[in-house]
Structures are given as structure tokens and as C-alpha cells.
């Protein structure tokens, strides 16, 4: 469903600030795969997400969605296949527009936009139905401006908007990081439900190791623009935070030894 092959991105190439943001990234995802991505700041997680979404183009390598080469497809075209939820709850919705208008825009993601009314009666019923699954009472506030909603409500709406049109790929970019623990848990649970409901192929970046363990059937750990650890299936289910940290230190430690050997 989503495949990345030999991806490389370098920022500020040829200058003192040169940074290899991604190097030798290979990842193949089947339909319904849910990959959680962890790694420290600057590991390349966000670059990976931006590269899949199309806001960044790889220097080398190819990205395929559904066996279609989308490497050079601009972001707005690629987003026909991709639903995305950002870290900032303000980022995924238009604040001065109403809940139903926001949903209508999301509804048009994989269709051609026309000069027909965006919020028709029929769609209104559909939006209501979907909003009910959030259990936040938003179905009774279709005409409320989204800017009046709380951060948690906005993020739940963003999640719904990104998923209810059943995108080929769902990208979640630390989408619970800006919320308080109880709201974060709510969104985490909703995420699990909605991904299962639509059998979505999902990539989720998170700083929360527990969340990375609870959600998804695969886990990758990134460091310095590389994938340094891949766990899936049975093995992932038995993973704990301690094991992950231990593994991280084992790999990083080895690398540091290697570095020392080279420098020494």
C-alpha cells in the first residue's frame, strides 16, 4: 500500500549546516498495517512524515502509494490518497468556519470540487452520523464555528476529518502530544477504533513510548535519519518500555563504539 525505497534527504548540502535528514530509508507497508514511529528529537521522524505527505521531496529514492509512483506528485495532489492529523490541534481545521463546513471540505478530499453547495441535506445527515462516533456531542453543534471548540474537540474533529473518507494512507504526526493526559487518552482510543473500523494503513509518529506500544502492529525506531530498529507482530506485542530503551542503548552504544573506533 505504501512503499518507500532507498530514500535520502539532505538539508543544506555542501554547507557547514549540512544535515542528512533521512538516509537509506526502506519501508513497505501492507494494507491495514499500522506502524508507530519513535525516536529522539532530530531523528528524522517529521521529515519522514513530510516526505510521505509530499511537502518535502526526497533527493533520491521513490515513494509509492498503491503501486503508483507519487515521488514527484505535489502535496495537494497527493493528499487525495492521504489523511493527515497534525500535532497542533489548531492546524487540522479552519477556525472561522463551522463544523459542517469543515467536514464538507474534508469530504471533498478525494473528489473534484464543484460549484454545488458543500453542505447538502444528505451530507449533513452523513456528517451527523460520523460525529456521533466521537461521543462528544458535536453532532448537535454542526453550525458552531470550530474556533470555539476546545483543543481536544478540535483534534477529535481533525481525526474524523482525516479518516471518514477512508484514505489509502493515514499520517498521524504526534497528534496527541499537545493535549492533556485525559484528552490524549481519548484521542488515542478514538484512533485505535477508527483505524480498525476503516482498516486504514497508518503511520503514527509519537514521543509517547507507551502509546507506540499500545497502538499498531509494527514499530520502527529512528535515529540520525535512519531506521535502527524494526519490530512487528508477536514480537511487538511482547515489547515493553524497558526492552525498548535497552535496545536503543544497545544499538546506539554500538554505534558510538564504532564512531570512537573511526575517530580513534
Amino acid at each position: 500500500m505504501l512503499s518507500m525505497k532507498d530514500i535520502e534527504i539532505t538539508f543544506n548540502e555542501g554547507t557547514l549546516d549540512e544535515k542528512k535528514a533521512l538516509q537509506g530509508i526502506n519501508l513497505d507497508m501492507e494494507k491495514g498495517d499500522f506502524v508507530t514511529v519513535i525516536g529522539s528529537n532530530g531523528a528524522g521522524k517529521s521529515t519522514l512524515m513530510n516526505m510521505v505527505s509530499g511537502s518535502l521531496k526526497p533527493d533520491i529514492g521513490t515513494v509509492k502509494i498503491n503501486d503508483k509512483n507519487v515521488t514527484m506528485l505535489p502535496e495537494y495532489k497527493r493528499s487525495q490518497f492521504i489523511g493527515r492529523v497534525f500535532q497542533d490541534p489548531m492546524a487540522g481545521t479552519a477556525p472561522t468556519m463551522t463544523i459542517e463546513e469543515n467536514l464538507a471540505m474534508a469530504y471533498a478530499r478525494n473528489k473534484k470540487r464543484t460549484l454545488k453547495v458543500g453542505v447538502s441535506k444528505k451530507r449533513k445527515a452523513l456528517f451527523k452520523e460520523h460525529l456521533e462516533t466521537l461521543h462528544l456531542g458535536l453532532e448537535n453543534r454542526l453550525n458552531a464555528k470550530v474556533g470555539l471548540l476546545s483543543g481536544g474537540e478540535r483534534q477529535a474533529l481533525s481525526l474524523l476529518m482525516a479518516t471518514f473518507t477512508e484514505p489509502n494512507i493515514l499520517l498521524l504526526d504526534e497528534h496527541t502530544a499537545a493535549l492533556d493526559p485525559s484528552r490524549a487518552e481519548l484521542i488515542t482510543n478514538l484512533t485505535g477504533e477508527v483505524v480498525e473500523q476503516f482498516d486504514l494503513t497508518t503511520v503514527m509518529v509519537t514521543h509517547n513510548m507507551q502509546q507506540a506500544l499500545d497502538l499498531g502492529n509494527r514499530l520502527i525506531m529512528m535515529d540520525k535519519g535512519q531506521i535502527i530498529l524494526e519490530v512487528s507482530g508477536q514480537e511487538k506485542q511482547q515489547l515493553t518500555i524497558e526492552k525498548l530503551l535497552h535496545e536503543f542503548q544497545r544499538i546506539r552504544g554500538k554505534q558510538m563504539e564504532n564512531d570512537r573506533a573511526i575517530l580513534g
Binding site: S79, G92, A106, A108, V119
Partner: protein, 329 residues
């Protein structure tokens, strides 16, 4: 007394024509969040194209249509400068405005074109209008109400009310369509609408095109109602547009799109009325128009905030007083 009636009448009359320009400014400034200074140029472009076409024998309706197309193109170019040339919105507009000054001179071939004894949309309808007898009917009402002089003709006012309302309703509808929603989101949260597969570059370009088409339409009507186009008649037009939008929003509210577009039209009329009455003050004359405009905009911007602060302070004072008296008893 009668002087005031007549000058109020002509203020409302030109206000309703300028309302189309204000709707254009509302589209760029509020909907797209794009402070588009092209307006100063495209307003004249509209007047210039309409006037020169009419002088050369084009029927007024068609000439007005040409003006709309010219304004649309001007807006599209500003949009391309911004989205494809990556030039900052303010600068894109300024560049287009200054370029249009020369282009407008080229279109007209001289600094102004008069439409004396030429057909216009308004005088073409005058004969038909007179046969309806609406003028004498409305004027008799005014006379009954005690007016001693009455407006010469109502044709401009009535036609413009109809046209402006039609355009208002089309705008309201358009902003609710799928494309319209995406256009609004482009000004509200560009990152978001991009992630829902909308081409924000094209939307910005089209939005600015429509905005300047309305501005040019307004220019074309002003030229035909006033009987001339002058290359400098667009100076400060963007500020007048902003004044109309801001006054309208402050006075009539912004509950939803339909309400806001109506408010903008109201704002354009109120602005003309305020300006007319300000010019009646003895020590002010027509050369002070721009200064008065600036003062009106400043007042329209500052007053609502002052009022809100006052209200809030009053609310808190009352709350504290209530708590204090509650404790005493």
C-alpha cells in the same frame, strides 16, 4: 433641509455602486486574508475599459462586461505574482497597482475620458424607466413628506440596488459551494486545506481575479453614472473599501457570510453618508476627502475596541460591587 435630502440621496446612490468594490475588497481582505492593493489600479481599469469601449461604439452592457474581464485579469496577475513568483502579498498588489497606472493611461490614451452624450447603462434605461412612472410616484411621496426639492431620477439607485443585491446573493452562494469553502479555508488555514487536496495557488489566483472583477465592475458603473473616467480616480480606493468593510462589520455584525456581505454593502453606504456630512462642516472642503477617509477608518477600527473594553470594565465593576454588597448583608 432639502439640500441634505438631495446630498444624502446621491451619497446612497454612489454608496451602493461603491458597495460592489467593497465586496471585492471583502473577498480579498477578509476571505483570502490577502491585503490586495491592486484595487487602486483595477478600479480605474474598470472605468477606463468601459469608457473607452463606449466611446468606440460598444454597447454599454458589453463594455461593462469587458471591464469585468479586465479587472479579473489584473487580479489573476497579482495572484500569479504572489503564488508562483513567491512575492509577498502586499508587494504583489503594490507592483500591480503601479503597473496598472500606466496600463490605464495606455487604455484611455489620455488622463481622462468623458462620456458626454454617450449611451450608458443608466441613460439607455431612462426612457423605459420614465414610462413606468416610478420616479413621479416616489417623488410625490417625498413631497408629501415635506421635501421641497426631489431627486432628478431614481433609475441609477434602483438599478444599482438590484445589481448589487444579485451579486451579493451570487457571492453568498459561491462561498457555500465546495470551491467556495476551499477558497475560504485558503484564507483561514492554508496548511489544512492543502492536506485536503485543494490547490491553494489556483484558489488564491481565482479569488483575487473575482475580487478585482467586482472592483472593476464598480469602476465601470461609477464611470457611467458620473459621465467620465479619470486615471487618478482610484487613488485611496483600497482604503475606502477597507473603511466600508470595517464600518459594515462593526455596525451590522458578521454572524455568517450572508449577514457579512450585507453589512459590507451597508458599510459602503454609511461611509458615503458620513463623508457627505463631514464635507458639510464649514472648514472642510473636498480636498480634505482623503484625510476624512483616514479618520473614519481609524474611528471605525478603534471605537469598537474601546466600547468592548468599557463594557468589560463595567461588567467587572458591577460583579465586584455585587459581591461586596452581598458580604455586608
Amino acid at each position: 433641509m432639502s439640500g441634505i435630502l438631495i446630498s444624502s440621496f446621491s451619497a446612497v446612490e454612489s454608496g451602493i455602486i461603491y458597495a460592489l468594490m467593497a465586496l471585492g475588497v471583502y473577498l480579498s481582505f477578509r476571505i483570502l486574508d490577502f491585503p490586495d492593493l491592486t484595487v487602486d489600479g483595477s478600479f480605474v481599469t474598470g472605468g477606463a475599459v468601459a469608457a473607452i469601449s463606449i466611446v468606440n461604439g460598444v454597447p454599454p452592457v458589453l463594455a461593462t462586461f469587458y471591464a469585468v474581464i479586465a479587472g479579473f485579469i489584473a487580479g489573476v496577475v497579482t495572484g500569479i505574482l504572489n503564488t508562483k513568483g513567491k512575492i509577498n502579498p502586499l508587494l504583489s498588489g503594490i507592483l500591480m497597482m503601479i503597473a496598472l497606472y500606466s496600463i490605464n493611461l495606455r487604455i484611455m490614451g489620455k488622463p481622462n475620458v468623458a462620456l458626454l452624450n454617450e449611451p450608458t447603462i443608466f441613460n439607455q434605461l431612462e426612457g423605459f424607466w420614465a414610462s413606468l412612472g416610478i420616479d413621479s410616484f416616489l417623488n410625490s411621496i417625498l413631497t408629501d413628506l415635506g421635501a421641497d426639492t426631489v431627486p432628478g431620477t431614481w433609475v441609477v439607485l434602483i438599478i444599482m440596488v438590484i445589481i448589487t443585491l444579485i451579486i451579493k446573493f451570487i457571492t453568498d452562494y459561491f462561498l457555500k459551494t465546495e470551491v467556495g469553502l476551499a477558497l475560504r479555508a485558503t484564507g483561514d488555514n492554508e496548511k489544512m486545506i492543502k492536506s485536503f487536496s485543494a490547490n491553494t495557488d489556483i484558489l488564491t489566483i481565482i479569488g483575487l481575479g473575482i475580487s478585482n472583477a467586482l472592483v472593476a465592475l464598480s469602476g465601470a458603473f461609477i464611470a457611467q453614472a458620473g459621465g467620465f473616467t479619470d486615471v487618478s480616480m482610484g487613488i485611496g480606493m483600497i482604503v475606502i473599501g477597507l473603511a466600508s468593510v470595517i464600518i459594515g462589520e462593526a455596525l451590522f455584525g458578521t454572524k455568517n457570510i450572508a449577514r457579512t456581505t450585507l453589512a459590507v454593502i451597508g458599510g459602503a453606504i454609511v461611509y458615503r453618508l458620513v463623508l457627505t456630512f463631514a464635507l458639510k462642516v464649514n472648514f472642510l472642503d473636498t480636498s480634505d476627502t482623503k484625510l476624512i477617509t483616514a479618520v473614519i477608518v481609524i474611528l471605525a477600527l478603534v471605537t469598537p475596541k474601546l466600547v468592548a473594553t468599557q463594557k468589560e470594565a463595567k461588567r467587572i465593576r458591577r460583579k465586584r460591587a455585587m459581591l461586596a454588597s452581598g458580604k455586608e448583608s
